[in-house]
């Protein structure tokens, strides 16, 4: 079995339909303006809120599959050791634990899909989470997956949990809260390992944090995830603190999201 499996080779059954980033970028239709469609806050008072929640939940489901695959590949891709392309024993154990957690999240997501009336594969899957986060350098992979991707998961699950609470949906609230607890563990794993593996290598740490910035900005989805008042997915500051993010780091993610939003606005204005 080879190391570093490309996203194009992620195995799926026939129900899944994959759409890549370029296909979406080629869509000539103007994106919904802010406050409309997927760029609106996910609150029960919105007419299409339940449908948006279904779509988002399916996106979470496919994201969990990719997270499971990413954690699994990290167990395999890096030989045991302390070199720059190796992983220490304890890190591999943590990734195996994450594998279990993500498998459980897939199971929960399938059950939530049943609850919400969503079929597996009802919405297209985009592999950009696996693509963006997986990196042949184990430290960059940790920052991409455990800090950026799982950090986004914290924000999304917090949003969905709140939606469940506001809409009075006991099942959604329960499930999102349990998954949220696991994600805090995963992000903390990433924070702790980043510190340990780069304790004597400040250059490597700087590269990892720069990679994380790039991925965080990508994962802000043009400002959909952010800390602005009207951000549909809010940065879950408290849970990120529990997971080992410093205030300055969270501030930076908020700023990156704001930049992404401004850049998108500028592009839309240029198109007219």
């Amino acid at each position: 079995m080879k190391r570093n499996l490309p996203a194009a080779e992620l195995a799926r059954d026939s129900r899944f339909s994959r759409v890549d980033f370029m296909e979406r970028a080629r869509d000539p239709r103007p994106m919904p303006s802010e406050g409309r469609g997927d760029r609106a806050a996910l609150t029960p008072d919105r007419t299409n809120a339940p449908e948006r929640a279904r779509g988002l939940m399916h996106g979470i489901f496919t994201g969990e599959i990719q997270a499971l695959e990413g954690a699994g590949r990290t167990c395999w891709d890096f030989p045991l050791g302390t070199g720059s392309d190796e992983a220490p024993f304890e890190l591999k154990l943590d990734m195996a634990r994450q594998c279990w957690d993500e498998a459980r999240h897939c199971e929960i997501s399938v059950k939530l899909g049943d609850w919400m009336g969503t079929e597996i594969g009802e919405f297209a899957e985009s592999p950009f989470l696996y693509e963006a986060a997986c990196n042949p350098d184990p430290v960059l992979r940790l920052t991409g997956v455990n800090r950026a991707l799982e950090g986004l998961a914290i924000d999304v699950f917090n949003t969905m949990r709140e939606f469940g609470r506001l809409s009075g949906d006991p099942v959604l609230t329960f499930c999102e809260d349990w998954m949220l607890a696991d994600e805090v563990t995963h992000v903390k794993m990433g924070s702790d390992w980043l510190r340990r593996l780069t304790a004597d290598d400040p250059d490597r740490r700087a590269r990892a944090l720069e990679f994380q910035r790039v991925v965080d900005k990508l994962f802000s989805l043009g400002g959909v995830r952010g800390e602005d008042e009207d951000s549909p997915i809010k940065l879950a500051r408290r849970f990120r603190e529990l997971a080992g993010f410093a205030d300055e780091e969270i501030d930076e993610i908020a700023e990156l999201s704001h930049q992404a939003r401004e850049e998108l606005r500028a592009r839309r204005a240029a198109v007219g």
Binding site: A11, M95, A103
Partner: protein, 218 residues
């Protein structure tokens, strides 16, 4: 009322544990080192395969089982220093080159249409051999001096038996034709021969050896 100071036997009448065991400290450590090695290879393989199997139920199950075997590797990793092996990596080695060849062959299937082969290698060859080796160790080591190993073996065996059942049921659900049966048997036979050459997951003596018995004279 029982008098607190009245002497009692150190071993209660129902506690039939005896001292002798088949393994010295070093022999137990050597086996535990081999266990750690094979559990690591197994959890790495299961983790790597998750992304390569299209069947959603198999994908999720492999993720769960990956953790079970990683945890076993951790149990063995922690046991080694207690068996006077202060460098847990030194003994975490395969018993011989033949078992390495087995692992290479077991992890060779990669394509998405080879789920049967992937599962057969683990659940019809490796895990049954692990169950056999763990059971032999459990039944032959000193129940008093090697109690910590026994405890870990029992935990590991519970997972192994559960995972064996999970895997076997998945295999049975995937095998739908005579061709599928042939595939499963062919791959099992190929790997079983490699395991025989290795002597088991702990090498020769993995499940003990048959005593030399004299034939009964007529």
């Amino acid at each position: 009322m029982a008098a607190p100071s009245k002497p009692r036997a150190a071993f209660a009448p129902w506690d039939r544990r005896e001292l002798p065991g088949a393994f010295t400290v070093e022999e137990s450590a050597a086996r535990v080192g081999h266990y750690k090695w094979i559990e690591m290879r197994l959890f790495e393989a299961l983790g790597g395969w998750v992304a390569t199997v299209p069947e959603l139920d198999v994908k999720m199950r492999l993720g769960t089982h990956c953790y079970h075997h990683a945890w076993h590797a951790e149990l063995w990793h922690k046991r080694l220093p207690e068996l006077r092996e202060m460098n847990p990596d030194r003994l975490a080695v395969p018993p011989n080159a033949e078992l390495e060849a087995f692992v290479d062959a077991m992890t060779e299937p990669e394509a998405p249409e080879l789920t049967i082969e992937k599962l057969v290698g683990v659940y019809r060859v490796l895990i049954p051999h692990k169950i056999a080796a763990y059971t032999y160790h459990l039944n032959n080591t000193s129940t008093i001096t090697d109690a910590p190993t026994i405890r870990s073996l029992r935990f590991a065996l519970q997972d192994e038996l559960d995972d064996w059942r999970d895997g076997e049921m998945l295999i049975q659900s995937l095998i739908e034709s005579a061709d599928d049966v042939d595939r499963a048997i062919a791959h099992q036979a190929k790997l079983e021969k490699l395991m025989v050459a290795a002597g088991g997951i702990a090498g020769d003596g993995s499940i003990g050896s048959q005593p030399q018995l004299d034939e009964v004279s007529a």
